[in-house]
């Protein structure tokens, strides 16, 4: 088997990012959209760590730690918003949450 280089990890990150983007675009359930967002965060993190490992430069790992912290904060606020939407609408179907639509 051919040796694994930086391009393999970057390609896997690109595939994972596009799968997450597809989920964000097509899912109607708010929690499923949040899950797809986590996939995209992970793709970005994978790229950062691969760069940090192959270039090599430790700053990519530091940035990945920051991204994980921000993702945790995002998930907490996102779940709070989902629960708030559920309390007001009794569902979390994003296509029907259009009260502010002009």
């Amino acid at each position: 088997m051919s040796p694994i280089g930086l391009n393999h990890f970057l390609g896997l990150g690109a595939v994972l990012f596009c799968l997450g983007a597809y989920g964000v675009l097509t899912r109607r359930n708010a929690i499923a959209v949040l899950m797809s967002l986590e996939l995209m965060f992970n793709a970005v993190n994978l790229n950062l760590v691969a760069f940090a490992r192959f270039l090599p430069n430790l700053d990519g790992v530091v940035l990945a730690v920051f991204v994980i912290a921000v993702a945790a904060a995002e998930a907490a606020v996102g779940v709070a918003l989902v629960l708030s939407i559920y309390r007001n609408f009794r569902h979390i179907d994003l296509d029907q949450v259009d009260t502010m639509k002009g």
Partner: protein, 195 residues
């Protein structure tokens, strides 16, 4: 020495990550999507391990699998009957979205393949694999140690800002998810004691 990950492990982990990611975005039952997300996150943690960034693999399992996925599963259980098939999960234009994502993928892969990266030979910051002695655990310590120094020497301000951000996010999550006091419910928010 050029860093050379194990190809078999890489392809196995890549298959695990993409398969579970497909399950996350296509599963009909939301709870199954959450379980598939656990598989994806463990696969990414394995890839970090394959890259020999052990600290981040641990952080991935602790923060993502241990905290974020549990939070999402709690949200599923609070808003759904757990095993209800949720067939109307896809929007009305899945093929447009698929075409856009495929175009994005083509652009990204084209950019990756047409670039040349200035990869350098491996340094001693990371632990090294030798076929005679296995993992040299003693050299894994400087990796985390170097990361800690890196966090506190040039990245002090972002490090502190992230802690403030997490505090703000925690307060914001409480403020958003909290039940708003209604006018006909005087017990909420009224603390005055009637003698």
């Amino acid at each position: 020495m050029i860093f050379d990950p194990n190809p078999v492990a890489f392809w196995l982990l890549a298959a695990m990550v993409t398969g579970c990611a497909l399950a996350v975005i296509r599963a009909h039952k939301l709870y199954h999507a959450g379980l598939a997300l656990v598989g994806t996150l463990f696969g990414v943690a394995g890839l970090y391990g394959l890259l020999q960034v052990w600290f981040l693999a641990g952080v991935q399992v602790l923060v993502y699998v241990g905290a974020i996925v549990i939070l999402l599963l709690f949200a599923i259980m609070l808003t759904h009957h757990m095993m209800t098939p949720n067939l109307k999960t896809l929007s009305t234009q899945p093929w447009t979205a698929a075409a856009m994502c495929l175009m994005l993928l083509a652009v990204l892969l084209g950019g990756i393949l047409s670039s040349t990266w200035q990869t350098a030979p491996d340094t001693t910051v990371y632990p090294t694999w030798t076929s005679q002695s296995g993992f040299q655990v003693a050299e894994a310590i400087p990796s985390v140690k170097a990361l800690g120094f890196r966090l506190l020497d040039p990245f002090t301000l972002p490090f502190e800002m992230v802690s403030v951000l997490i505090l703000v996010a925690m307060i914001a999550a409480l403020a958003v998810a909290r039940k708003p006091p209604t006018p006909e419910d005087p017990a909420e928010g009224c603390e005055e004691v009637v003698p």
